[in-house]
């Protein structure tokens, strides 16, 4: 299977009042066709910025400084805005975090859906309406017809999220980026959405990037997981293997910190220290200040690169850099 999306040495900065914030440094990531990848990291790790960079929808202060993002053989960073617009929604779609604020409150559901459908195809309004209804059925929205006539504020969180998903898959995109799609939903609804996404993945050959801070959610949908910290990717590997045998100290700490891994009655584990300041990126490994396992060379020189190990796992840690390099 060919590589659908290939990110090489991506550097992204934010130009802020107080200086340049280097939010992404040397990102290397690949996604295959029909694959579901989980992107995990805490707030500030840069995972949302990564998804925005792929879509080239960074805020005004953001800037892609170097690197390449190749989608289906084309470098997205070299495309004109017009071509990028055509790609968005049809080749790559996004699902955002809070469904209630992601739909325009002044327009009915049917208007928003038909707008997206008609943007990427040449069908008329009536047919678009029919297609919208079908899409809503696919995402399991009950009483699709009446939902179409409603305004977003009349929907529940779960239903609004389904509408968003319907809009995102309406043109059968090759890649779907879901940026924390269930974070704002309560647990029962979350389960339903996870189930829905799995169904969609099974039925279509789209690829999925599921961004989350919650490992437990990600493991239910994704085959591979990439872990981010402080603007870099620290580990990538098969989901089951990574969770049972984490190699990077951060991944280990993250797994241990989950409420689900703690036995009842025992205190919750957290990771000591704070997320680093992107305005002043320290030398050496970015995780060094919080790492239980670090050594002398972790605070000097270049940060450890992402290295592929024999078992297919990729880690960015000095502990493993003595073994094979890519």
């Amino acid at each position: 299977m060919g590589k659908l999306l290939s990110i090489k040495d991506l550097d992204v900065v934010f130009n802020t009042f107080d200086g340049i914030s280097r939010v992404l440094r040397g990102i290397n990531l690949e996604i295959n066709e029909s694959e579901a990848l989980g992107l995990v990291g805490e707030t500030g790790s840069g995972k949302s910025v990564l998804s925005q960079s792929i879509m080239r929808l960074l805020p005004v202060s953001g800037e892609i400084v170097s690197g390449s993002i190749t989608f289906k053989g084309e470098n997205l960073l070299g495309l004109s805005e017009k071509r990028m617009e055509r790609l968005r929604g049809s080749g790559i779609s996004m699902i955002l975090q809070s469904p209630m604020t992601s739909l325009n409150p002044l327009f009915k559901v049917k208007d928003q859906m038909t707008e997206v459908i008609m943007t990427h195809s040449s069908i008329g309004k009536k047919e678009a309406l029919k297609k919208a209804e079908e899409l809503l059925k696919i995402v399991r929205v009950p009483e699709a017809r009446s939902v179409l006539e409603r305004y977003p504020f009349e929907l529940s969180g779960g239903m609004a999220q389904r509408v968003m998903i319907a809009m995102a898959v309406s043109s059968n995109p090759a890649l779907i980026i879901a940026d924390e799609p269930t974070t704002a939903l309560d647990v029962t609804v979350e389960k339903q959405i996870i189930k829905l996404m799995r169904e969609i993945m099974e039925k279509s050959n789209s690829s999925l990037i599921w961004i989350s801070h919650d490992l437990d959610v990600v493991k239910q949908v994704c085959e591979r997981i990439a872990v981010m910290y402080g603007g870099t990717i620290v580990e990538i590997g098969d989901a089951k293997e990574l969770l049972s045998n984490p190699l990077h100290p951060y991944t280990k700490a993250l797994i241990e910190a989950r409420p689900s891994s703690i036995k009842r009655g025992k205190p919750l584990k957290s990771i000591d220290g704070f997320v680093p300041n992107m305005l002043k990126v320290p030398e050496g490994c970015i995780f060094e200040s919080r790492c239980a396992d670090c050594s002398e060379r972790c605070c000097k020189g270049l940060p450890p690169e992402l290295i592929k190990l024999d078992n297919g796992r990729m880690v960015a840690c000095n502990k493993f850099s003595d073994t094979k390099t890519v």
Binding site: Q97, N104, H120, Y151, F153
Partner: protein, 324 residues
């Protein structure tokens, strides 16, 4: 709202009785004969208790009798009927101009930060809030009439030596169009240009600023981000989606705009000799013509109530979340 109307009627009722002098005499021209005064006295029921007088007054109000203007020799209602279209034509066109240009400039300056439109709108807004409308009006007359002769003299709605369209609605532009009188149309239009522009000036600045702020705020919203990620074209997003959401601050201020418009109209009508209600009121005060002043108070209250209703209605149409 009814309270406002009642309050206004009480105010105008009290008005005539507070002024030093005989209320009946006040409402009549200075050369009125004693018998006229007596008849007026009887009509107003001045010998009767105040409550009865008041109910008498309200009854006549409801019948549509707003009083008599001794200065012009016509009933107040007639005067209003004649002058109202002039004021409405002027103020509505101004508001329209201010809204269309203001919103357009606002959108452009929001989407092209620090571009030409941005600086232009900033200049506008400083001028709009610091320069008095009547001053701008007078200067414009000087530049565009006296120096450049681009517009006709400020003699009101049409040139002095012209017959106006008889009958019709009183809205000169409309009347001219439907009777096919293009001369009149051109004349009325030329006379309208300057006053409409000057009146709209300060509102234009405000509307532009408000739209800009609203649009910028909206552009940060999640639903705009999502729309972009779905591939909807940028132009469409700006003009269809962002705009509908971003206009809210303008609508919120709409009521205030209408009130300020009425205030501004008074000055513009004075400067341009426009035969509208504003100038009528000013004349009435300067000539101590109390009949129209009473009528004016009632009228203002009516306007206030009506405009509030209109603003509420507009809100209901635009924003589906608002329900009554």
């Amino acid at each position: 709202m009814i309270l406002v109307l009642i309050g206004a009627s009480i105010l105008s009722f009290v008005l005539v009785r507070i002024v030093p002098g005989d209320p009946a005499r006040i409402l009549l021209p200075p050369q009125a004969k004693q018998e006229d005064i007596d008849r007026m006295k009887e009509k107003m029921g001045l010998d009767e208790p105040y409550i009865k007088q008041y109910s008498q007054y309200v009854k006549s109000l409801l019948k549509g009798d707003l009083g008599f203007s001794y200065h012009t020799g016509r009933s107040v209602v007639d005067e209003f009927k004649w002058r109202l279209p002039a004021t409405i034509e002027l103020s509505m066109l101004s508001l329209l101009l201010a809204a269309l240009v203001g919103i357009w400039l606002g959108v452009i300056s929001a989407t092209n930060k620090n571009g030409f439109a941005d600086h232009a709108s900033r200049l506008f807004s400083i001028g709009g809030i610091s320069a008095p409308g009547f001053w701008i009006g007078l200067l414009c007359i000087y530049v565009f009439y006296y120096k450049l002769s681009w517009v006709p003299a400020p003699t009101g709605r049409v040139n002095l030596i012209r017959e106006t369209a008889t009958g019709g609605s009183g809205f000169l532009l409309w009347d001219a169009v439907i009777t096919g009188n293009w001369d009149l149309f051109k004349d009325a239009l030329m006379h309208l240009i300057l006053p409409v522009f000057v009146l709209s000036y300060s509102f234009l600045a405000m509307i532009c600023r408000l739209t800009r702020t609203g649009m910028i705020e909206v552009s940060q919203q999640d639903y705009i981000r999502f729309a972009k990620s779905c591939g909807i074209k940028k132009k469409r997003i700006i003009w269809k989606y962002s705009l509908k959401n971003g206009i809210r601050p303008v609508l919120t201020m709409l009521g205030m705009f209408l009130a300020q418009l009425i205030g501004g109209v008074v000055f513009i009508e004075t400067v341009f000799n426009w035969p509208g209600i504003g100038r009528y009121a000013v004349d009435a005060i300067n000539f101590l013509d109390y009949g129209p002043i009473q009528g004016f108070i009632i009228f203002m209250a009516l306007i206030y109530v009506v405009t509030n209703l209109i603003v509420d209605l507009i809100y209901m149409v635009i924003d589906p979340r608002v329900q009554y």
